[in-house]
Amino acid sequence: MSETPPPTPLRERARQALQDTFLHEALTIATTKFIGLRREAFGEFPDGEALRDRARAIKEATLQHLDQHLERLIDNVERRGGQVHYATTPEDACRTVLDIAKRTGARLAVKSKSMATEEIHLNTALQAAGVTPLETDLGEYIIQLAHERPSHIIAPAIHKTKGQVAELFARELGREIEPDPEVLTRIARAELREKFLIADMGISGANFGVADTGTIVLVTNEGNGRMVTSLPRVHVAVMGVEKVIPSMTDLAVFLAILAKSATGQKLSVYTSLVNGPRRGGELEGPEEFHLVLLDNGRIRQIAGPLREALSCLRCGACLNVCPVYRQIGGHAYGYTYPGPIGILLTAMLNGPASVKDLAHASSLCGACADACPVRIDIPRMLIELRRSVVERRIAPWPERVVFGVFGRLLRRPALYRLAARAGRVLQRPFVRRGAIRRLPLFFGGWTRTRDLPPIAARTFQERWAQLAREDHR
C-alpha cells in the first residue's frame, strides 16, 4: 500500500504555508544557516570535491552488483548472530517488526530517528498492535507529541517555536514549563532517559549497511541512536536495500562528506557501528538483533527512471538550497519525504501519479544538484517525471491540450509565425501596462500568481531578419 495522498491540493497547501509567518521566518533562518555551515565545511576541506565524486561512483558501482553486496551483508549479519528479514511492502515491514515485538513480549519500543520507519508508518502499526512507540530524537519526540510529520529530513521540528514546544511538553507532563530550549532539552533528557532504561525494544534505521562486515551504521548527534541499539533487549534496524555499501574503506569516504553536507559538522557527534547482538564479556547490547531489508518501490527503480535517486544519503542539503522548499517548508509537500529529493522519493514509493502536481514544485534551477553530496541530477529526473505525468495522461486535460498545441506550433515555423500574428491581435483585451495580468477560463491558472509577458510587437525572428537585411546594405 502506498501513502495516503494529502487531503488538500498542493496549491492550497502551499498557500497555507506561505501565510504562516513563523514558519517562513524559521525556514529562512534554518536553511540559510545550514547553507552557510555546509559551505564553510567544504571550504576547509580541499579533498571534498574529489570525495563527492568517489562517493557517487561507489554508490553506482554498488548498484551494479547490488545482489552480491546484499548477499554478503546478509551472510555477515547472520554470522554475527543477527537475523535478516525481507520486506517488499510497508505492510511486510510493519508485520515483521510486530511479529518480533509479539514474540519477545515487547510493550515499549524506543526509536531513533529513521526516515525508513516514517515512510512505512511503523508507529501507527505498532500502536494499533498495543506496542507503544516512542521517538527519542528530540525533534521527532516533539512532532510525535504534536501528532505531526517531520518537516525536514534532518531537522524534523524546524517549524515549531519554543513556545509551542513548551506547550506540548506542558500538556504531556501536566505542569507549567518555561519556553527555553535549554530547559526543554533537559526535561526531554530526563523523560526519555527513564524510558530508555525500561524499553523492551529499540528500533532504528540505518545510514549504511557494510557488506564486508555485516555492520549497521547510525549517524546521530544526540546519542539516542546509541541508547536504542545498546539498552533494550531487542534491536530492530529497518534499512532500505540501497543503503548497503561494500566496505569499511567505502564507509570512511561517505562519513567524510555526510555530516558536512547535512549540518556542516566534520563528523556528527556519534557514528555508531553496530555489529549484531551483545557479545560475550560485554555489559550492554541487545540479546537479539534484527535487520529488516526494505524494498517499497526501490527495487523496481534499479532499472527505472529514478535509479539515480537510489544514491541519496538523506542529508537534507537539497532541501536547504531549494527556493521552493525555502518558501513552503516540508509539510506542504504532503508526503514523508519533502524537498527536491522528496519529490523523487515520493514518486518511487507511491508511483508517478502521486507527484503529478509535486513534479512542478521546482524551478529546475539546479541548486539541489549542486548541493547534493553525491551529485544526483535531481532536475533531470523531475523533468522525466513531468514527461511521464503527461504521457500517462495523469496531467489535467486543459494543460495537456495547451502544451500539445504549443508543441505542434514550435515544430512548424510558418504556423508559429502565423500564430504569433494572430496572438498579437487576440491578446489585446488582456494586456494591461505591458503585461497579461489575467487570462480567462482555465488559462487563468497561469496568471493567478504571475504575469505573462505579451507577444512582442515584433518577434525576435522579424527583428533578426531586418538586422540581416540592414547588414547587407
Binding site: L63, L138, D212, E222, G223, M248, A252, A256, Y270, G285
Partner: protein, 249 residues
C-alpha cells in the same frame, strides 16, 4: 512474507534490465590491513606532536576539553580534579586492563565512589546492577582506540571490560589516551576499521564501535545549540605523554 531467494531474485531481474549509468568501481580495500595499520602507526609515531595539536584544536572546536599529563600515574589526579570541579561523586570506568591503567582504586582514595567494569562475562543480574550504576554515575572513564586529529574524534570499541555505557550514560565522559591512538585523518580511521574486522573477532571484542566527536548535542528547538540531550554534556580527553600501560581488547 518474502524469502531471501525471492527478494534477491527480484533484484537480479531488475539488474538484468539495467545497464548501469556509468562505469564505476567501489573502493579498493587494503590487502593485509593489519600489517598496513601497523606500518601506518609506525609512520605516524614520528608526527604525533602535530597530530595531537590538531586533535586538540578540533576537539575543543566541537566542545571537548583536552588535558595533558606526563605520566599514567597522574591520570587519577586529573580525573579527580575534573570530578571535584563538577561535584561528581560516582564514577564508572573501564577495567584497568582495557584502560592501560587501574583508576578505580586511586579514585576511591580521592573519596570518589568508583567502580571498574568486570574483565569477563557476568550474569544478567550483575549486568543489570552494573547498568544501574552507570545510569546513576556522574562521570564515566574510558580508553580511546583512535583519536582522529582532522575531526577531533574519539573512537571507542566496546568489549569485555569496555562497557558502552561509560561513554554514554553519565553526564561527563573522561577519555584517557596516548600517542598510540592518534591518527591524522578519517580515511586512516577507515584503514583501522578494515584491520579490526579482518578475520574473526578476537575473544572479548564487543559488537559496537563508536566515533565520538564532542558532547551530545541538538539544535532541534529553534536551532538553539544545546548540549547533553541524551549522551554526556561534557567530554574530556586526558593525554598521557609517556604513554599508558599495555592494553587489551
Amino acid at each position: 512474507m518474502t524469502t531471501r531467494a525471492e527478494f534477491l531474485a527480484r533484484i537480479r531481474a531488475e539488474m538484468g534490465r539495467a545497464p548501469g549509468l556509468f562505469a564505476a568501481e567501489v573502493s579498493v580495500r587494503p590487502t593485509r590491513p593489519r600489517e598496513r595499520l601497523a606500518l601506518l602507526r609506525r609512520e605516524l609515531s614520528e608526527r604525533w606532536r602535530e597530530d595531537l595539536e590538531r586533535f586538540g584544536q578540533e576537539f575543543e572546536r566541537v566542545g571537548g576539553v583536552l588535558h595533558r599529563v606526563s605520566a599514567a600515574a597522574q591520570v587519577p589526579d586529573a580525573i579527580a580534579r575534573i570530578a571535584a570541579e563538577r561535584g561528581a561523586r560516582r564514577v564508572v570506568a573501564w577495567h584497568g586492563d582495557a584502560l592501560g591503567l587501574d583508576v578505580a582504586a586511586p579514585l576511591a582514595a580521592h573519596g570518589l565512589q568508583a567502580s571498574a567494569a568486570p574483565a569477563a562475562e557476568v550474569d544478567a543480574d550483575e549486568r543489570g546492577r552494573r547498568r544501574a550504576l552507570a545510569a546513576d554515575a556522574d562521570l564515566g572513564v574510558t580508553g580511546v582506540d583512535l583519536a582522529i586529529a582532522e575531526t577531533g574524534t574519539l573512537v571507542v570499541v566496546s568489549g569485555a571490560g569496555r562497557p558502552r555505557s561509560a561513554s554514554l550514560l553519565p553526564p561527563c565522559h573522561v577519555a584517557v589516551f596516548d600517542r598510540d591512538a592518534l591518527v591524522t585523518s578519517l580515511l586512516q580511521a577507515g584503514l583501522a576499521l578494515e584491520a579490526w574486522h579482518d578475520g574473526p573477532p578476537p575473544a572479548g571484542r564487543g559488537a559496537s564501535i563508536n566515533f565520538i566527536t564532542g558532547p551530545s548535542r541538538t539544535a532541534d528547538i529553534e536551532l538553539t545549540l544545546t548540549r547533553g540531550v541524551h549522551g554526556p554534556k561534557e567530554v574530556h580527553a586526558v593525554f598521557v605523554e609517556q604513554g599508558l600501560g599495555p592494553r587489551r581488547g
